[in-house]
């Protein structure tokens, strides 16, 4: 009988309407972050710039020039947003995709091992979850390990997997993909076990009254009910996959991939390169998660779980 939900007064101006939702506030916060970023860039880069002036014998450079110079250093402590943007544009649009200096090339390498690992990890996770749901022994013996293994810093073994597999002649995509598989497989297993168990008792009882086989119950009831859980854990899994692929690129000595760009940037003090690789990785992660979100919406809509 309460009608609170309806009581929000109608907005007066389009601007007020914008600030009511999330779009307006998000834009304002993003603008604030960029402003703080610029301010921090000036402040963090200023000491080095003053040092340069002193060496160059320039006394009392005007503030405007100091600010302009801090924002256009070659290897700034903190590059300004526009420097990163220029670098991003330069390394994506202005370089051939096959060039070693193209971020698209490096991103593609990271993406391919991320996707390979993610697909393997998801398949493995779903398969294991189905086994666990149907086997009491696996449930009681394996699941505690799957859950507690999430508390272990799995990424720590990444360098070892890479180097050891390299030593027996396996290199390139597969070792990195294995790390991604490993990282994405756990959230999917845990999520799917929860999802496959999500049908209510009466729904399972209904299947029993039809004397449905376990396979039929799985196919007609458990799997459809598990879909929302699957997509939620796939979002976590794909993000973890990307982290795995990036970290997997570190110990190979910075050959190719976004992780390699991070590492070589840190070797040579190329801060602009680090930041652009970081932004590229962030964009990649956001895109992957958003794509799964779209798939989720389409799938759940088709299944009538969401309007």
């Amino acid at each position: 009988m309460t009608i609170e939900a309806l009581t929000a007064p109608p907005s007066r101006s389009p601007f007020a309407g914008l600030m009511q939702g999330t779009a307006g506030p998000v834009l304002v916060v993003v603008a604030a972050i960029i402003a703080v970023w610029y301010l921090a860039a000036v402040m963090l880069n200023a000491p080095f710039q003053r040092d340069m002036y002193k060496r160059g014998g320039i006394e009392d450079a005007p503030l405007a020039q100091l600010v302009a110079d801090t924002l256009s250093q070659d290897r700034p402590v903190l590059p300004a947003p526009h420097q990163v943007a220029v670098e991003l544009w330069d390394t994506t649009a202005n370089k051939a995709v096959t060039s070693k200096r193209s971020l698209v090339y490096h991103g593609g390498i990271t993406l391919s091992s991320t996707l390979l690992g993610f697909v393997l990890g998801t398949a493995l996770g779903i398969g294991l979850a189905i086994l666990v749901v149907h086997s009491r022994v696996l449930d009681k013996s394996l699941m505690p390990w799957v859950i507690s293994s999430q508390t272990i810093p799995i990424l720590a073994i990444a360098p070892m997997i890479i180097v050891v597999l390299n030593a027996i002649g396996i290199s390139g995509l597969l070792p990195k993909a294995m790390i991604s598989t490993y990282l994405s497989f756990f959230p999917v297993t845990v999520g799917m076990v929860k999802g496959l168990r999500s049908p209510e008792a009466i729904q399972m009882d209904l299947m029993k009254t039809y004397s449905a086989s376990p396979a039929q119950a799985l196919w007609k009831l458990r799997l459809p009910s598990a879909m929302p859980y699957l997509f939620a854990s796939m979002k976590v899994g794909v993000a973890a996959s990307l982290v795995g692929a990036i970290v997997g690129e570190l110990p190979t000595g910075a050959v190719a991939g976004l992780g390699a760009r991070l590492l070589s940037g840190s070797y040579y003090g190329q801060t602009v390169q680090i930041w652009s690789a970081l932004i590229a990785a962030a964009v990649l992660a956001a895109t992957l998660v958003a794509l799964i979100g779209v798939a989720e919406r389409l799938a759940l809509k088709r299944m009538g779980m969401r309007r």
Binding site: M19, V29, S148, P159, V163, A285
Partner: protein
């Protein structure tokens, strides 16, 4: 003692039958144990020794048959079956491990057959344990612990037997026994790494990151505009590979632990922010109305209702963050450290092909991670004892 001992009201007695899995496993184990007597246990180019050359192992096989046969015929069941099967499987494993340690790389077909027999018996013991329904809760908890422990122990046993039996090069995968030896032999190094990475980088960063996330969340909650603006961004950032800021932090804060703590702060901040803001919004309309009818002011509402109500969410973030913090600190060390730290140890010993040291470091990291998580879970149980997921 009957099979039904420990079960609540005894139902009408039904003929006892093994399920399909147990029937197959028990028959397989019996058959293999008998066949193994005719196969070489230890074999090389120059010699082949049968089961009778190793009296202890032969005795074990005899024991296995003595236990398996009545089990297969359904004469042995219940807690007694579980106990006997477990005892025989572990004894066999022990004998097999010590045998192969004396003859590395010379495992014959009979050896592998007996490994399969021991494993099958272990599986059967777990099947029996999982089927027990003890009346006393203490026994129930002991069994709930024993089952995964058996699984873990067999993972180690198979790892040990396979690596030694096939003589896998140690640079590829050392047997658990070597890792254990290394763990025992170098406590100073491992402790120094632990102190550098965990006690300094992880704990300090964790406290700062979680604390900051919590305080900012309370601030954000007060200003609806900020909440609407920051929450989507916080959700987005939680999915990003934040670990990538590690090289930047190493540049800014130097090689020592402050840069690792900084990475941990950034990684733990957003999960805490998002979870706390969600938790603070969890109070339902009726609860808020109730405080309104008491004319309670903001601090009273916050302290007496909304913070307690947000605690399950806060602990969720604390648990997620305990894992993230350790990962962040270790990976940040891949980008540069002084010559101490778990991440440093792992990456340099990998380079020197001292894989057993790497595994020892990973074991320490795993133990630290699980204990950290366990402590947070204990605190959660104490604080949110009232939550449906915790209370009994």
């Amino acid at each position: 003692m009957s099979a039904r001992e420990g079960t609540t009201p005894a139902p009408a007695p039904r003929p006892h039958r093994l399920g399909a899995v147990r029937t197959v496993l028990a028959s397989l184990a019996l058959a293999l144990a008998l066949v193994a007597t005719m196969m070489p246990v230890i074999a090389s180019d120059t010699m082949a020794l049968g089961l009778l050359a190793f009296p202890l192992l032969a005795a074990m096989v005899l024991a296995a048959v003595i236990v398996l046969a009545p089990y297969r015929l359904c004469l042995l069941r219940g807690p007694r079956a579980a106990g006997l099967l477990a005892a025989v499987s572990y004894a066999m494993a022990f004998v097999l491990i010590s045998l192969i340690a004396a003859h590395p790389g010379q495992a014959g077909s009979g050896f592998w057959a007996l490994v399969v027999v021991a494993w099958a018996i272990a599986w059967l013991s777990v099947e029996e344990m999982a089927g027990l329904k003890p009346r006393q809760p203490l026994w129930g908890r002991a069994i709930a612990l024993a089952i995964p422990l058996t699984f873990g122990a067999w993972l180690l046993i198979l790892w040990q037997v396979l690596v030694v039996g096939f003589a896998v090069p140690k640079v590829l995968l050392p047997p658990p026994s070597d890792i254990w030896v290394r763990l025992i032999a170098s406590p100073e190094v491992l402790w120094a790494d632990f102190r550098q990475t965990f006690l300094k980088g992880v704990l300090i960063g964790y406290a700062l990151g979680c604390g900051a996330g919590f305080l900012v969340a309370i601030l954000v909650d007060r200003v609806p505009f900020l909440r609407r603006g920051l929450l989507p961004i916080g959700n987005l950032v939680s999915a990003l590979p934040i670990i990538g800021v590690a090289p930047i932090m190493v540049m800014w804060f130097g090689f020592d632990w402050p840069s690792k703590a900084a990475v941990v702060v950034i990684m733990t901040f957003f999960p805490m922010l998002v979870n706390t803001v969600t938790g603070l919004a969890a109070a339902d309309r009726m609860q808020l109305d109730l405080m309104h009818t008491y004319a309670a002011n903001y601090p009273q509402t916050l302290l007496k209702m909304r913070l307690p109500m947000a605690m399950p969410f806060v602990f969720n973030a604390l648990k997620i963050n305990s894992t993230l913090a350790l990962i962040g600190a270790i990976v940040a060390e891949f980008f540069g450290t002084p010559i101490v730290g778990m991440g440093f140890r792992i990456s340099t010993e990998v380079g020197r092909m001292n894989i057993d040291m790497v595994w020892a470091s990973i074991a320490v990291a795993a133990l630290a991670g699980s204990l950290f998580y366990g402590l947070v879970t204990l605190a959660e149980r104490a604080v949110t004892f009232w939550h449906p997921s915790v209370r009994r």
